[in-house]
Amino acid sequence: MAASGIVLVGFLYAHAAGNLKIFLGNEDFDHYAHWLRTIGTPLLPDVWFLWIMRVGLLVAIVAHIWSATVLTVRAKRARPVKYAHRPKVQGSYAARTMRWGGVIVLLFIIYHLLDLTTGHLNPVGDSTRPHANVIADFAADRWYVTLFYTVSILAVGFHLRHGIFSAARTLGQQTDRGEKRAKVIALVMAVVLVAMYLSVPFAVTTGLVK
């Protein structure tokens, strides 16, 4: 969980940083999107680097889901008879929503790929004009799309809040001071990432970015 999770968090940050290019204008954003397809050239043919990254991400996602499934199945087997009286788990909201939160994030990723990568669910859906796709996607009258993105990104934020701390612990973090530090880092990283991601749809919906 920890190793694949770190790869995915790394991707999330790179993706979020790229998104912010939208604040530099139409051309900058489209140029950035096209550049993603030409990284590594002429050493590699066009789009190869992108596909290498995609395959790497897919491997990380499959490993992450597989580990989560194994843990979930083991947890179910480990407690065949449920408690009759079970108050809410005392640990954090983020920790107890990891599993369902993860499922929401997965569904969101599928929608997101169909929306802004393949363009099937996008009103413009023109892969040569990513800026236009984004503007059309989060138009004010499509508020429900913005709402769904917001809910999903918040789910990602909660997932990271426990996930980053948990990864540190899994990799051997063991001092009390380090625990406090890991929890603060996890919270800050989650909040910053959520802010980076949500700034784009909100900027479009409110008309800040046209």
Binding site: A75, R77, H162, S166, Q174, G178
Partner: protein
């Protein structure tokens, strides 16, 4: 004070079991939780009913025998306290209190509130020991131990192996128990020769016994009557990683 307890009654390992409600009248607020069950049992015996079976031994919080999930919390509402050290003054007159056994596949119910915790013995047998020559006690200063390490090892060694961590864990994992043993032995010079095989073997025994996997949720540390910190699991993971890399 008058209360009602709803207790898990299960006549044997194969019985399905159910919650049964009993009224307990005029119980002293200064009675311990187990004494309240004792009073109830005396009444049940007089009425010709089967008394509630429950584990208990020292009744001073150091043996780890008592094991009740009270209102969904292992060892009840008071932090860092075993069931035997919990008193009725922590409850209110008229309260309805649910009492259940530890629930884990690795801890099968023997009867009512008594579960079989042999799975912990299997984990200990797999690596919870050191190899030392028998004979007279060694000279106390022969193996110097830094005070910091001695204190940390002692803190981990206060684990009484009650199993509350498993009972509380949403995954039914025994990681805090195993981590406490790994830490307590791994911090001492006498524990070094088996340090790598210990973590590998104890984790294997834990998996074989049917405990769940740890997801660092921290429920275990919330209910631990000895306040074993969650950070010890990080130490176990660190030992595990080092042991794996040397394989």
């Amino acid at each position: 004070m008058d209360i009602q307890v709803r207790v898990w009654r299960q006549s044997g390992p194969t019985d399905k079991g159910r919650m049964v409600a009993y009224d307990v009248k005029d119980i002293s607020p200064d009675a311990s939780f187990l004494e309240m069950i004792d009073v109830l049992n005396e009444k049940l015996i007089l009425d010709g009913d089967d008394p509630i079976a429950f584990d208990h031994d020292c009744r001073e919080g150091i043996c780890g025998a008592c094991s009740m999930v009270i209102n969904g919390v292992a060892h009840g509402p008071e932090k860092a306290t075993t069931t035997c050290q919990l008193h009725m003054r922590k409850f209110k007159d008229g309260d309805v209190i649910d009492v259940e056994p530890w629930r884990a596949a690795a801890f099968p119910v023997i009867k009512d509130l008594i579960v079989d915790r042999s799975a912990f013995d299997e984990i200990i047998q797999a690596g919870g020991y050191i190899t030392a020559p028998t004979g007279t006690a060694p000279e106390a200063h022969a193996a110097p131990v830094p005070k910091k390490d001695a204190d940390a090892a002692f803190e981990a060694a206060t684990c009484i192996g009650c199993g509350a961590c498993v009972a509380a864990c949403p995954n039914g994992s025994s990681m805090l128990f195993t981590a406490a043993k790994i830490t307590h032995l791994g911090l001492m010079p006498q524990g070094q020769p088996e340090r790598e095989s210990r973590v590998l073997d104890m984790l294997q025994a834990q998996d074989d016994a049917g405990f769940g996997g740890c997801t660092n949720m921290g429920e275990c540390a919330q209910v631990c009557p000895k306040g074993i910190p969650l950070s010890l699991i990080g130490r176990l993971n660190s030992d595990y990683r080092k042991a794996l890399s040397k394989r």
